[in-house]
Symmetry: C2
Subunit: 348 residues, 2 copies
DNA sequence: ACCCCGATAGAAAGCGCTTTCTGTCACGGA
DNA sequence: TCCGTGACAGAAAGCGCTTTCTATCGGGGT
C-alpha cells in the first residue's frame, strides 16, 4: 500500500520517532541521521498521513475561509489575498505549510453553520468568515455559540468585513467602515447639487446593507434632504437592472442613484441607458467596492473603494497568528471615495 | 476537554462501537438504542474528530478544487458550481457531507504541486483541477506523476477546462472546445469584412492560450487572410490596455481585436477609447468566456460563451462519483458564439 | 580514574475513531 | 424441552503518527 513513516524508519535504520523528529524539526537530530532519513523519504516518495498527524498532534494545518459568494470578485479578491498571506506565513507546526481552503456558503446561514461544523470536525487551525452576515437573532446566536466552541477548541477565528457577533467569542474582527463610505458618497452627491437620490440596497437583514443605508441616511439627514426611494435586492446586475424601474416609478425626477455595489451599479446603468437616460447627464450613478471592472465601465464608476486585498491579507495574518489585533473591539478598516465619470452635477 | 465518542458512549450506556455504528449508519442498531445515542450526541454537543475518522477509515470527505485565480469570476463561477454540486451529492461514507474546498494556485505550478501534496496528505476523496495548465514538459511530468499517485491512493481526479496530462493517470477530463470557439469568433469577424485582426493572447505556454490561438489561425488560414499582430499577456484588464498600443504600433490599420478573455477585452476597449477610436465604428473588439459583466460593457461585448456553471457542476458530480464519464478520452464541452454590439463591419 | 551531564536515539503509550471478531439473548421449529 | 438462528451489542485490535519517558554514549570537571 502506501508508504508509512515506519517504512521510512526501516529504510533509514532508525526508529519511527526519529523520522517524526526529522520531519517536524522540533528536536535535535544529528546531521548524519537527518540526511539518512531525508534520503529515505525521497527514495520512497513518502507523503505523511495528514489525518494521523492531526490526530496525534491534536491540531491540523487547515485554515477555512468562508465566503458568501465565490463567484463575486469582492470575495475572490479578499479570499485570494488571505490565502496568499497564509501560504507565505509558512511555518506552522514544524514549518508545515497551512492549507487555506475557501468554502462557499452562498450566503446561506445553514451552509455557513454546516461548514463551521465540518471545519470543527477537521480541527481546523483557523477559520475566517468573510462578508456581511444575516442579522436574524436566532442565526446570530447559533453562530456565536459555534464560534465560541471553535475558539475553545483552539481554532483561531477571524471575522473580516463582518461585525462582531454577540457574546465574547474570542474572534479577531476586521470591519469596513461602510457607514462612513456611504456617507461620503452621499455627501458627494449632495455637494454636486442632487436632492432626489434613489438607493438600490443589498439584501435586507444583512449587516452590510444596513450599515451602508445608515451612512446614506446620516448624510441626507445632516443636509436636511428627504430620503428618496429605496429598493432591496441581491448583489447582482440583474437586481440593479430591475430595481431601476421601481425607483423611477416612485420618483421620475430622480437625478442620482446609489447602488449596493459596483455590480448592481452596472445593472442600473444598463437600465437607465435602455430608457434613453444619459449618465451622468440625466442621472448620476455611484457604486461601492471599486471592483476591477469599475474603472472600465462607461462612464467609469464613482464608487467607494474598500481595500479588499489589504484586508484579506490582514485577515490571513490574523488567522495564522502572524499578526495580533490590539484589544478593544473590532479594527475598523478605512474606505475611500473614488470620484469618476458616472457622477456629475444634475441638469439645470 | 472536547467531547469524544467514548463520552457519548458512556452517557448513552452503550459501547463506543455502537455509537460509531449509529453515526455512520452502516450496521443494524435497534431503534431504541439509536435514539439513546442520538440524544446523548445532542446533549453533549458532540462533534466527531475528523482526523481520527479519516485515519481509522482510511478516507476523508475533503474534495479539493484547484483554481488558477480565485479573484477571477471565470474560476469563481466554475468553483462555486462544483462546490454546490458536491454539497448536494450529500451522501459519502454514511451520508456524511463532503467538504469542498477551493485552493488558489495563482497559476504557479509549484503551488499547484504543493496543494496536490497537501491534499494527498489529507487523503482527499477527490481533486478537481480547473483551468489551463502550463505546457512545460517537466511540470507536466511532475503533475502526471502526482495525479497517478493520487488515483492509486483512491482519490478521484477530475480535470475541468484543462487537457489530459500525458500518461494514463485515470483522471476524468472535461475540456472546453476553445479551438472551435476561437474559430467561430474569427469567422464572424471575417464575415463582417475584417482583414486586419489583432490578437491579445493569454500567457504563452498555457494550453488555453494555445488552443484559442490555433482556432483563430485555422479560421484565418481557411479564408486565406494573413495573421495580424499578436501580443501575449496575463488575463487582466491591464494586459489588454497595454497590449493595444503594441498592436496598433505594429498595424495602425487594424479594424478588429480579439482578446484572450472578456477582462482583457475591457482593457482593450478602454485603450482604444483613450485614443479616440470608437467601438465598433473604428475597431471591433471581441472577448472570450462571457463573464457576467460583459453584457453591461459599452458597447456590450461580442464573445464566446463557455458554460462555466454547467461544466463546474459536472466536474463536481464527477468528483463525487455521482456521474461517470464514458470512456474514450476527454469529454468536450461545446461553446457558443454570442454576438453583441462590440463587433461590426469595418468602415469603408 | 570517577561521576555527572549534554546530546541523541529508541520504546512505548496513546490520539479518537472504525471494524472485525465474538459473544449474548430471545425466539421459533422439531 | 432443546438447539439452531437471527438480531444486536461489546471487546479489542489496529489506523499512522507524536511525544513523553528512558537509555546510551562520549566527554569534561575535579
Amino acid at each position: 500500500m502506501t508508504v508509512t513513516l515506519a517504512d521510512v524508519a526501516a529504510r533509514a535504520r532508525v526508529s519511527p520517532a526519529t523520522v517524526s523528529r526529522v520531519l517536524n524539526g522540533n528536536y535535535p537530530v544529528a546531521a548524519s541521521t537527518r540526511e539518512r532519513v531525508l534520503l529515505a523519504v525521497r527514495e520512497l516518495d513518502y507523503v505523511p498521513n495528514g489525518p494521523a498527524s492531526s490526530l496525534a498532534a491534536a491540531t491540523s494545518d487547515l485554515v477555512g475561509v468562508l465566503v458568501n459568494d465565490i463567484a463575486d470578485p469582492f470575495f475572490g479578491i479578499m479570499a485570494g489575498a488571505a490565502q496568499s498571506a497564509i501560504g507565505e506565513g509558512a511555518g506552522g507546526r514544524g514549518g508545515a505549510e497551512k492549507l487555506a481552503v475557501v468554502c462557499n456558503t452562498g450566503g446561506s446561514p445553514e451552509r455557513e453553520l454546516t461548514y463551521l461544523t465540518l471545519l470543527q470536525r477537521q480541527r481546523a487551525a483557523a477559520v475566517i468568515l468573510m462578508g456581511g452576515s444575516l442579522e436574524d437573532p436566532e442565526h446570530l446566536a447559533a453562530t456565536s455559540g459555534k464560534l465560541a466552541r471553535l475558539t475553545e477548541a483552539g481554532t483561531r477565528v477571524v471575522l473580516c468585513g463582518r461585525p462582531p457577533v454577540p457574546g465574547d467569542t474570542g474572534a479577531a474582527v476586521l470591519v469596513f467602515d461602510n457607514r462612513a463610505g456611504a456617507r461620503l458618497l452621499t455627501e458627494h452627491l449632495l455637494a454636486l447639487g442632487h436632492r432626489r437620490i434613489g438607493y438600490v440596497a443589498g439584501p435586507a437583514d444583512r449587516t452590510t446593507t444596513r450599515h451602508r443605508l445608515e451612512g446614506h441616511r446620516q448624510a441626507l439627514a445632516a443636509a436636511g434632504v428627504p430620503e428618496g426611494p429605496t429598493v432591496h435586492g441581491p448583489y447582482d446586475r440583474r437586481s440593479g437592472h430591475e430595481a431601476t424601474a421601481g425607483l423611477l416609478a416612485r420618483d421620475p425626477d430622480l437625478t442620482a442613484v446609489v447602488a449596493a455595489n459596483d455590480t448592481v451599479a452596472l445593472g442600473v446603468c444598463a437600465a437607465l441607458r435602455e430608457r434613453g437616460l444619459s449618465i451622468p447627464g440625466d442621472v448620476s450613478v455611484a457604486g461601492f467596492d471599486d471592483l476591477p471592472f469599475s474603472v472600465d465601465a462607461v462612464p467609469a464608476l464613482t464608487t467607494v473603494r474598500l481595500p479588499l486585498h489589504a484586508a484579506g491579507a490582514r485577515a490571513g495574518r490574523l488567522a495564522t497568528g502572524a499578526e495580533e489585533l490590539p484589544p478593544g473591539g473590532p479594527a475598523v478598516v478605512p474606505v475611500e471615495l473614488v470620484l469618476r465619470g458616472s457622477t456629475g452635477a444634475p441638469r439645470g
